[in-house]
């Protein structure tokens, strides 16, 4: 009975493609509830309705009576990739930094700054660690689309990304009404759209070189005609033309530079710059235009950073007399400023000269100041909760539950046994920037939560549950150890594995069965406060650890007190855990509980 599963169970109807029935069921349910006192219930109901409406679109029209097959859970058809457990190698490409509590050892770096993309060129894509940031891909898309000197791979990516907004004049027919003009192909009679596109075509002989005066005047005139048409169109057409023009100008940067001001003014793009949901092409153009304006200003004498700019733009290393030409504070101010706001401008400066300024003593003060700021302490965002409607959330939750607890477990089952955990997993769903569920990231995050919780809860349990908890801990620690000392340390401290750690499929299978068993008994509650504990380790175990780790007695002692480096501590912990599990002496449990 597919009507049992989400979303139909929440709506109280059988699976149907009849949108009217879905909305009526939703209306009936919502009238029976008090939204303010049941916030979560409301969110779920909305999610259920939205999912149901979406599913209805994919279902065959109502031969509905015989349609639903037992076990043919329609929600799984949406996300088939969730059914098989993710093969370990997929984890190597996980797109999110690990979930809290641990922050990734690497800072959450540049991808927040999409305008930084072009300067990185192909390097960024080549580096798997960086391309793994695809969860925040504005920059990535842009990189492909507008990188000034695209590498072969980013060029192909660019073709795809740019497809709807390509500079190709044949893209023009997308704007209905212009198809004839574009198709005729007679230069003089073509629409201004097609002619402008032709002038800015990156593949044309002129390429992306700057326009000469005549070209510039012609391009401005054509843009004027385009904008005039835009002005007299309805909002839907305006939107299409805006997207088209933004894509065209972005693709043709820097050739399109003289046209940016007019286009930005016509569409009021300035309002969108710096907004969290700014469209990539428009955001990109905004950054370019601001950089362009800044560069023009800084090249004029009398600008505060003019001297610093001139100095840094000189080729070659700076000599010891550099301080006569520019003031160190200004150089730092300029570099900090352009790196934050107009990173591509750094290309206009000389790298060696920058290096000699940064290497010098004058840079030291800057570093100290920055260090001070870090110690003052602020927050780093771990969970990017951007995007995601309720249905995307529900989809993410369904995938997470299936992945963490194994099939056939579903969110309803979890809600029935562990409502709090279900809500927490729903909250931790991850989304792609366009609002769709990021299933892989959601599953990873959910798994981390359940892993951490199982460890905290399991070490307080007795008997078989305690044994299983500790054996799983050992298996996971070993997997982390095989990855890196940092991964192992993260696992020891937070009971959570970094995405780089490959957990063997066999261990994952055991994990699933155990987590499901704990959850069905309602044992995966919010863990009690974590208290420090200590136990004395008998000599026989210490000897086994020394034998297994090949460390000296002193090194083992330090490692067990947590005073050693990550690798030693990791090795000692794994060895001690393994030895203690096989040992039956007094105080066994106490020792295990400290590990």
């Amino acid at each position: 009975m597919s009507s049992r599963g989400f979303p139909w169970s929440l709506l109280g109807i059988a699976a149907t493609s009849d949108t009217k029935a879905i909305r009526s069921a939703y209306a009936a349910r919502i009238k029976a509830m008090d939204l303010d006192s049941d916030v979560e219930g409301y969110a779920q109901l909305r999610g259920a309705r939205d999912t149901a409406l979406r599913l209805a679109k994919t279902m065959p029209p109502p031969a509905a009576e015989q349609a639903p097959e037992p076990g043919a859970e329609p929600e799984w058809q949406l996300a088939p990739e969730t059914v098989p457990p993710p093969a370990p190698e997929t984890q190597a490409h996980l797109s999110k930094p690990p979930a809290p509590p641990p922050p990734p050892p690497e800072p959450l770096a540049s991808p927040q700054w999409p305008h930084a993309a072009p300067t990185l060129g192909g390097d960024w894509q080549a580096d798997p660690a960086l391309s793994a940031r695809a969860a925040q891909p504005q920059g990535d898309q842009l990189l492909g689309r507008v990188s000034p000197e695209p590498t072969a791979s980013s060029e192909t990516a660019g073709r795809e990304a740019a497809a709807p907004t390509s500079a190709d004049p044949f893209a023009v027919p997308l704007l209905e009404g212009f198809e004839n003009a574009a198709a005729v192909g007679q230069q003089s009679q073509q629409s201004p759209f097609a002619r402008l596109a032709a002038m800015l075509d990156a593949d044309a002989p002129a390429g992306l070189s700057p326009m000469d005066e005549g070209d510039e005047a012609r391009a401005r005139m054509l843009l004027g005609e385009v904008l005039e048409t835009v002005h007299h169109s309805d909002i839907g057409r305006q939107g299409e033309m805006e997207t088209w023009l933004a894509g065209l100008l972005a693709d043709a940067w820097p050739r399109s530079a003289p046209l940016l001001e007019d286009a930005a003014a016509a569409f009021d793009w300035e309002r969108e710059w710096g907004k969290i949901d700014a469209r990539p092409a428009i955001d990109y153009l905004g950054a370019r235009l601001r950089g362009y304006r800044f560069e023009r200003k800084v090249r004029q004498k009398g600008h505060r950073y003019h001297k610093a700019w001139t100095e840094l733009a000189r080729p070659g290393k700076a000599g010891p007399l550099r301080h006569l030409r520019a003031n160190g504070a200004d150089v730092r101010g300029l570099l900090t400023g352009i790196r934050k706001h107009f990173p591509e401008l750094e290309e206009r400066l000389d790298a060696r000269r920058i290096a000699s300024w940064e290497g010098g003593n004058s840079w030291l003060t800057g570093t100290i100041v920055l260090g001070g700021l870090i110690i003052l302490g602020f927050l780093v965002s771990l969970a990017d909760s951007r995007g995601g409607g309720p249905d995307a959330r529900a989809q993410a939750l369904a995938a997470t539950v299936a992945d963490v607890f194994g099939l056939p477990h579903d969110p309803d089952w979890l809600r029935q046994h562990q409502p709090e955990l279900a809500a927490k997993l729903a909250d931790s769903a991850q989304f792609t920037p366009d609002g769709k569920a990021d299933l892989t990231a959601s599953m990873m995050r959910g798994l981390d939560i359940v892993r951490g919780r199982t460890y905290l809860v399991g070490r307080q349990l007795e008997g078989e549950d305690f044994e299983t908890t500790m054996r799983l801990r050992l298996a996971l620690l070993k997997a982390a150890q095989a990855d890196s000392a940092i991964a192992c340390h993260t696992m020891m401290t937070f009971a959570s594995t970094p995405p780089t750690t490959l957990v063997p499929l066999e261990v994952r299978g055991k994990e699933r069965a155990f987590y499901a068993s704990l959850a069905s008994r309602g044992l995966l509650k919010v863990p009690a406060k974590l208290e420090g504990s200590s136990a004395s380790v008998p000599g026989v175990l210490v000897a086994k650890v020394i034998a297994a780790t090949k460390l000296s007695k002193q090194e083992v002692g330090l490692a067990m007190q947590g005073k050693s480096n990550d690798a030693h501590r990791c090795a000692a912990t794994v060895a001690l855990l393994e030895a203690t599990l096989d040992w039956k002496g007094e105080g066994r449990q106490a020792i295990l509980r400290t590990l």
Partner: protein
């Protein structure tokens, strides 16, 4: 009793839900709309509505209008030498509306649903709520204006409606909402707006355009600021209204003994408004994009708000949507009527049993964070969203954050509302510090939960798993949130104001109108009006009802004649 109030920038209105129907309540002068204007004389005598507007030209220093545009800010208005906060003045208007309801029903209302622009931020909402409290009303619910209008529109026939768009351009604010109705569920899909765009801006644009032409000799420069502004504003408003029904109109004002005037054509007005018209587009695009509905899919574009009467605005709307808008609801009444429908819903009225309304939170809410950048530096002041804009409310969401400094002992949470990537571009709602156990950087995490209720009020909870502690945070306004005592004190101060008894309100209004006519005219006509005023004042002094009635009829007739023959 629970009443519905539309507290507008230009006009306010009050409604009650009675006998299964929303009804507008007339004020003491019999008008259904009370202009949002307050005038206070030195002796504490207060005028509200039309008479206050009439006093404006002669007593600009005593009179406040458009104070809704200042609500939620630190700005104050100075009336007759005393400082008033915008919510104080709003409370005076609300008080007048309360008395109107009392006069009609014989019962003093104690609770209200008040409408606010959808794009009002948290500070503006809180200030509006305070205004209600100051007027002695317990504010049961704040409802978004386009949502209220959608309720009124949707309940015209209670039928199902495909998504339609409410285009609400009022005196000071602009809202767009996409709404859908099915089986009695009125569902707001998305809202967007501009809380600094309204009819007032069109007046200002017109005044700025007309000023050099009307006053080439710079006479106005010699007039005190407040008075000049009041004169220009009123001339612009009159001219703008006239342009709604004619191809050209006179922009005229009287400075001392000189009458200045110029003819403004519709085309000139359109040019002057061009930048404002352009600003109408963005919120429409945002709202449609947020709910993924194409403009062509909309079943209707419903106009609300007085400023949508302007032909220049209608033209722009027709062009934007490629079709003619729907003006079947009364643009000035729809919001107020919707407010009392909401009041009926809150009061669980039987006639509304089958109706439910769901709204969205039109802003993104989040906290300030820092991140390491790729140069090893620290990017501070970044905005990390927790509740996305246009999420259905009520809603509760959690996000996790961790410490950035080794041994950090406390985490500071700056709470912001807005859409900018850097918090400096957003509205700060509050700030909370949470103590955490000192650990190496990144090892301490904190879960931040934002809960946003149906009235648009935010609650923040922070949970630190490591210490197991919960911190429930009441958001304190950036400006000091007044305690009950302070409210009491301000209420007492407002209570000292004197209002005209209801039976005399008509006389006071007529007197103010005559004074305005006196200001507007010069020469013989002015002397004549002055003479009538003296006569009328004399009649009032006798306290003889019959004489007063006679004098009132006479003066009303004369002023009516002047108005109808006036070139204005």
């Amino acid at each position: 009793m629970l009443i519905g109030i539309d507290l507008g920038t230009t006009n306010s209105a009050v409604t009650i839900w009675r006998e299964g129907e929303a009804q507008l309540v007339p004020n003491a002068l019999g008008e259904l709309l009370t202009p949002s204007a307050v005038s206070i004389a030195r002796d504490g005598q207060a005028w509200i509505g039309t008479p206050a507007l009439d006093r404006m030209a002669a007593h600009p220093l005593d009179t406040a209008t458009s104070f809704k545009r200042m609500i939620g800010t630190q700005r104050t208005a100075r009336l007759a030498g005393k400082e008033y906060k915008p919510e104080d003045i709003s409370a005076i208007v609300l008080g007048a509306l309360v008395r109107d309801v009392e006069a009609l029903t014989g019962e003093k209302p104690t609770e209200a649903v008040i409408t606010v622009p959808a794009y009002f931020n948290d500070r503006q909402r809180k200030a509006t709520r305070r205004a209600g409290e100051l007027a002695g009303l317990s504010v049961r619910r704040l409802i978004n204006e386009p949502t209220a209008a959608a309720l009124a529109f949707g309940l015209q026939d209670k039928g199902d409606r495909e998504p339609f768009l409410v285009f609400d351009l009022g005196g000071g604010t602009f809202d767009v909402s996409v709404v859908e109705m099915f089986d009695g569920i009125v569902e707001v899909r998305a809202s967007a707006g501009d809380n600094r765009l309204g009819g007032d801006d069109f007046d200002e644009a017109l005044a700025a355009f007309a000023k050099p032409r009307v006053d080439p000799e710079g006479l106005l420069a010699k007039v005190p600021d407040e008075r000049r502004e009041a004169l220009l504003k009123r001339a612009a408003e009159t001219c703008r209204r006239a342009l709604s029904s004619a191809g050209e109109a006179e922009f005229a004002l009287t400075v001392d003994e000189t009458r200045l005037s110029a003819i403004i054509t519709e085309a000139e007005f359109e040019t002057a408004c061009e930048p404002l018209i352009r600003r109408l587009r963005d919120p429409v695009v945002r709202a449609l994009r947020d709910c993924a509905i194409e403009a062509a899919e909309l079943s209707d574009v419903v106009l609300v708000g007085g400023a949508t009467r302007m032909p220049v605005v209608r033209k722009a709307i027709t062009r934007l949507f490629g079709r003619f808008p729907n003006s079947s609801v009364h643009p000035d009444h729809a919001v107020a009527l919707g407010a009392s429908i909401q009041a009926g819903l809150v009061g669980r009225d039987a006639a509304l049993e089958e109706i439910r309304i769901t709204d969205v939170c039109p802003f993104t809410l989040g906290i300030e964070v820092a991140e390491n950048d790729r140069y090893g530096g620290l990017q501070r002041g970044l905005f990390s969203p927790i509740i996305e804009r246009n999420t259905p409310v009520p809603v509760s969401r959690v996000s996790s954050y961790s410490t950035m400094g080794d041994g950090q002992k406390q985490i500071e949470f700056g709470i912001y509302q807005g859409e900018a990537r850097e918090v400096s571009g957003n509205v700060k709602l509050g700030q909370i510090a949470v103590p955490v156990p000192p650990r190496p950087a990144g090892e301490v995490s904190a879960e931040v939960r934002f809960s946003y209720d149906s009235s648009g009020l935010l609650e923040v909870d922070v949970h630190v798993p490591l210490s197991g502690k919960n911190h429930n945070l009441v958001i304190v306004d950036e400006e000091d949130r007044p305690g009950p005592k302070d409210i009491e004190k301000r209420r007492a101060a407002l209570a000292k104001l004197k209002f005209h008894p209801r039976e005399e309100a008509g006389n006071a209004a007529l007197m103010a109108r005559a004074e305005r006519a006196y200001e507007d005219h010069i020469g013989e006509m002015r002397q004549m009006i002055g003479h009538w005023i003296t006569q009328f004042a004399g009649a009032l002094d006798t306290q003889d009802p019959r004489r007063i009635a006679d004098a009132r009829d006479f003066l009303t007739g004369q002023l009516g004649e002047i108005d109808s023959s006036s070139p204005l």
